[in-house]
Subunit: 131 residues, 2 copies
């Protein structure tokens, strides 16, 4: 057994209708999560790739938000109609769907005052984190 | 703005009491998620590091399960009492808490019949995925 090769998280945070920041669930993100799970299972990729629902990923204005790890590529405004393209191009082919990618400099993360946090110094099996 | 430097996901899947595989929520994982969020906010790391609740991470027998990306290090059997140590040692210091790490070869992921999926071929800003 091993780590999942790709791990997708779909924001399903729900603030209810009319919230000023908006939220992914009100833009259909639960259906997007279901479509990813179905598409992965239909291809026999259960336990190779995993799609999970997640709490608020903090890119609310961009919803529906999806992040793919370990590469850390973020998608905004994803609809059910985009799911097959993301699976085929990115998950299976390694080519991100550029038109939906949130540019890194527009993500909501920030650097800490002390700069970047240190990288992992050793993995659980002696230097291969995530292997 | 930028990507989060570390992104933690805490499984809060709940199958109810007595399920044969067990589940993280019945082992207190919601409290673990709250403790991570609080510990990160108290240190002024909001938007530097993010902790999210997630659906079933498929390491059910190991619960409470936590995965940290982008490094892809998995923890099992995490309690509220372990949260400060994981934040200080791993999140801030880059040193995983070995006694709680699920060894990669014991994770529930598998390789596909065709082997490893291709790595990302180009990032959204021309070769720096997740920057």
């Amino acid at each position: 057994m091993a780590n999942f090769q790709r791990h997708l998280f779909v924001c399903v945070n729900d603030r209810g209708p009319g919230h000023p920041r908006g939220c992914c669930a009100q833009k259909g993100s639960v259906d997007v999560a279901v479509a990813f799970k179905r598409g992965i299972h239909e291809r026999g990729l259960k336990r190779v790739v995993r799609a999970n629902k997640a709490g608020c990923l903090d890119q609310c204005e961009r919803g529906t938000t999806v992040v793919v790890y370990p590469e850390g590529i973020w998608y905004g405004g994803v609809s059910v109609d985009d799911v097959e393209e993301i699976i085929e191009s990115h998950v299976l082919g390694g080519v991100p769907v550029e038109r939906l990618v949130i540019p890194p400099d527009e993500l909501m993360g920030i650097e800490s005052e002390g700069g970047l946090l240190p990288a992992i110094q050793s993995g659980p099996d002696g230097g291969k984190p995530g292997a």
